[in-house]
Each structure stands twice: as C-alpha cells, then as structure tokens.
C-alpha cells in the first residue's frame, strides 16, 4: 500500500474550484514530483494534503491512516511535514531557534544534539550563522534553513513546495542534490516544482497538474521524454 494516497481531492476557494478531484500516490522511498505551471494548483495540493487548508471532497490516507479531517499539527506528529512555498522560516528567531522549532514535535529530546549536528554538517552555512536572526539570511541560506528545520522533525514523508524558487543556478543544483541525499537517507519525498527538467531527473515518478486536474503521469524519465511535457515545461 502507498505511503500517501490521495483520492479525488477537491478544494475550493470560495466558489472557485482550485482542485477538481485529483488522485495520486507516493510510495515508501520514492521521490514523486508534481509539475505544473503557475496557478495550476500545486501549492493548493500541498497545503490541503498537510491539513493547512480545508478540503471539499475526497480522501487522504497516510501510513494506512485516514487523515482527511486531521488538523495540520497532528499530521506533523504522524511524520509528514512540508517546506512551504516561500520558505516561511521564523524571521525573528535565530537559526538555532528555528531548528529547535523544527524539533517541536519530537517528544524524546535525547537525540536533539545529534540531529542538530547532522543538520550543521549537511548545511555548514547554518552552523556558521547559528546565532544569527533568520530574517537576515540570504535566500539560499533561508531555503537551507527551511529544509533543515523540516528534517529536524524526522519526517517519513517530506514535502517541498518549489524549493528552487528564486535561487541562483548554482544553489538550485545544490538544493536538488540535498533532496536526493535526504531521500537516500530513507525519507520519502513529494516535490512540487516549476523547474521540470531538474525535478524529473531526480524523480521516480511524476504527475502533471493543469488547471486543478492531473493530466499526465508516469516515471520521471517517461515524462521527461513526453512530447507534451517537453513542449509545455521543458522549453520545447
């Protein structure tokens, strides 16, 4: 059975239908990507799955448990978290305090020191700046912090909403490397990207979202080779 199973998910903003009943799944150990243009409904999908915005219809199962009506903070305690669009780190807290917030859902504090060291090893910049107010970090550093903060909660499923947005090409490559790394360490990944080329290259499977519907799905390689994807998302 899939780790995350989304069935006929419908989301409305007032009378506007943002998701028209989409279904997809993520299996243990996979990297799955949703690609789609601006306004396709990617963020809406991510936020409704994690319980931040209410759903009109459909069902969501995570780890064999129905989480359709579960509030966000409880879903996080079940082992799913998200690096949200725009990073949304806590600007007024220090880098260290942000990471501390990331571990908020971990009851057993004995592993905290080790987890923190692991983050500092993976992101040396965060170690250098651990006592700096997070709002003063550069965009790339903020993205690293957002990822580090999410990892601190030991997610089984990590969702990332456009982690490469607004970053320099060099940093974009670095972010994709880190995602591959995190996945190799055993974390299942659900990724949302407009950068279709790079994300399909690291994905086991992918879905194409258009106007609130899934119009295509397949392995990363299949989609990267598809004429429709090439035309619409890979610049010809």
């Amino acid at each position: 059975m899939a780790m995350l199973e989304v069935k006929n998910l419908e989301v409305y903003y007032g009378v506007i239908c943002a998701l028209k009943g989409i279904s997809f799944e993520v299996n243990q150990g996979e990297i799955v990507t949703l690609i789609g243009a601006n306004g396709a409904g990617k963020t809406t999908t991510m936020q409704s799955v994690v319980g931040l915005i209410p759903k009109r219809g459909g069902s969501i199962t995570f780890d064999g448990r129905d989480i359709t009506k579960t509030p966000c903070h409880k879903i996080v305690h079940l082992g799913m978290t998200q690096v949200p669009e725009g990073r949304r780190i806590f600007q007024e807290l220090t880098v260290y305090e942000n990471l501390l917030m990331g571990a908020y859902s971990i009851k057993d504090k004995s592993g905290f020191k080790n987890d923190l060291d692991a983050i500092y090893t993976r992101f040396p910049r965060l170690h250098e700046r651990k006592n700096q107010i997070a709002g003063t970090l550069s965009g790339g550093e903020q993205q690293m912090l957002a990822m580090g903060r999410a990892i601190m909660s030991h997610p089984k499923l990590l969702m990332l909403d456009e982690p490469s947005m607004g970053l320099s090409p060099l940093l974009v490559d670095q972010v994709f490397e880190i995602i591959k790394d995190i996945n190799r360490d055993g974390t299942t990944v659900l990724l949302v990207e407009q950068n279709a080329g790079k994300s399909l290259a690291i994905s086991d499977r992918a879905y194409v979202l258009e106007n609130g519907s899934i119009v295509l799905s397949g392995t990363g390689a299949e989609l990267a080779a598809s004429e429709m994807v090439k035309k619409a998302y890979l610049g010809g």
Partner: protein, 290 residues
C-alpha cells in the same frame, strides 16, 4: 527631590500596572490577531472576585481566586465568543469583543449593584525613603510588576511553549507545520493575559479600595493606548508603552496647570506617535499568510 522621587515611584508603579494590562492586549493581538476589547473588564472581574473572597479576610486566598477566576473567564470568553469567529472579518470580531465588554459590565452591575463597593485588601501603610514619605503599596506594585514582566520575558524566550508563541505570532501556518497546536497556544495566551489582568485588578484595589463595574474601562483604554504606542504585538513594546504612559500621567497630575487635561495629553501622545511612527516604538509590519 521629594517631588521627583515620589513622582518617579508612583509613575513607575502606575506604568507597571498599565504594562501588565497592555501585555494582555498585545499578546492576544500578536497571536490571535484580534483586539480583545473586553480585556479591561477582566480587571474589574478580578477586583470583584477579590471583593467577594475578602469576606473570608484572607488576602492571599482572594488574590489566588481572582487569578484562577480570571484565567477561566478569559479561556471561556475565547472559546465561546471569539473561536467561532476565527477567519471572520476583523470588524465582526471587534464588535463581538465590545459586546463581551458590555456584557461583563452589565453582569457585574446586576450582581453587585451600581454603587461602589469598598474593599481593603491589605493596608501596607507608608514608609519614609530619603526623607520622602511613600505608599508601600506603590513599591509592592512596582516590585511585583517588574518580577512578573521579567518572568514573562524569560518564559517567552527560553521555554518551548514561549517559542511556540513567537512562532504562532509570526506565521500560524508555518507554526502548524512544526506540529504546534495553534488553538492551544491561543488558549494559553488568553489565560496568561487574564492572569495579568487579575493582578492589575489587585493593584487598583491597593491604590484605591473602591470598585465598580466600570473599574476596568479607563485602565483598559489607557493600557490599549500604551500597547499601541509601544507597538501592538510587541511584548517589550507593551512594557515600554505602559511605563511611558504611567510616567506621563503622574507627571501631568503633578503640574497644576495641565492636571485636568491629563487624559487628553495621553491620547494626544498616542496620536502624535502614530503619525510619526505608525507601527509604534517597537512594532513591525506584518504580512499575513495561510
């Protein structure tokens, strides 16, 4: 010298009271993004609870009951009146808060009548410091408010719960993604604000041993002014604004020519500061997110 010292102590002590109340406004604003206009009336409820329990002649018990009673009332008001309006327009929430304020005042009048009740919680008497006679109650008030504010600051900065409060005030969505129960944090915020209001009620009774259903109205507005001057949503801002307003009020009362206009002077300061610095001294602009 005598005038200076007594004005200083009285100003700081009154400022401390305003700061305690302003903290309730500012914390609730920072976390629930609403103006709880019924906050001032919690002071009055605290005062009446003290009045009722002083029948047993045990000040500590009365104070304890006032704090517990106000905390429960604050939580109840949030659950019954404000929680159902989460996501509603700010105007609807504001009108509800004003309604709750009138409800509390009217209930107090129905229960205790419209005449002032007299209650002496404890007579600390006065002492002479550096040749200046001073009310000990003002010193006690000052001491307690300083301790409470320091404790609150440490609590916010260094405990898991305190940091969760900062996280919620900054970004509710991101806070939920950390596994923080935002509704729980809002409840705790109302509880803390109400406990501080109960203490403010005690300090008013120490200043003047008389209570009516409108006891909290003016202090509520003054403390709200203090919170806005300091920067609504900012905890150090509420402390700064409270102390500043208390000092201004005491100094103004000492100057015969302007004493009658003290309230007007205080609100004018608010207007001037808002014109020069719309976010108050320590406030910052905030962006809203899902």
């Amino acid at each position: 010298m005598e005038l200076f010292l007594s004005t200083l102590i009285n100003g700081l002590s009154l400022g401390g009271i305003y700061a305690m109340i302003a903290l309730g406004y500012t914390m609730v604003y920072g976390i629930a993004k609403m103006l709880n206009f019924a906050h001032g009336d919690i002071i009055m409820v605290g005062g009446y609870i003290i009045y009722v329990f002083m029948a047993l002649n045990n000040p500590l018990l009365a104070i304890f009951m006032a704090v517990v009673g106000c905390v429960l009332l604050g939580i109840l008001i949030e659950k019954v009146a404000y929680k159902p309006l989460r996501g509603a327009s700010p105007l609807a929430v504001l009108i509800t808060a004003i309604g709750v304020s009138y409800l509390l005042q009217s209930l107090a009048q129905i229960i205790f009548g419209s005449a002032n009740k007299m209650v002496t919680v404890y007579d600390f008497g006065s002492v002479t410091i550096l040749g200046v006679p001073m009310q000990v109650s003002a010193l006690v008030t000052l001491g307690v408010t300083v301790v409470v504010m320091a404790a609150l600051t440490l609590f916010i900065k260094y405990t898991r719960l305190g940091r969760a409060m900062i996280a919620v005030s900054e970004d509710k969505g991101a806070a939920q993604l950390m596994g923080i129960n935002v509704n729980g944090i809002i409840t705790i915020t109302f509880a803390i604000g109400s406990a501080l209001a109960a203490l403010a009620g005690l300090f008013y009774l120490l200043k003047a041993p008389s209570i009516s259903s409108t006891l909290g109205a003016m202090p509520g507005i003054k403390a709200f002014t203090a919170a806005v001057i300091g920067g609504i949503g900012s905890i150090p801002g509420a402390m700064l604004g409270g102390i500043l307003l208390g000092m201004v009020e005491c100094i103004s009362y000492k100057i015969t020519a302007i004493a009658p206009y003290t309230d007007a002077i205080e609100f004018s300061i608010l207007i001037i500061i808002l014109l020069v610095r719309p976010t108050g001294f320590l406030g910052k602009k905030r962006r809203e997110k899902v």
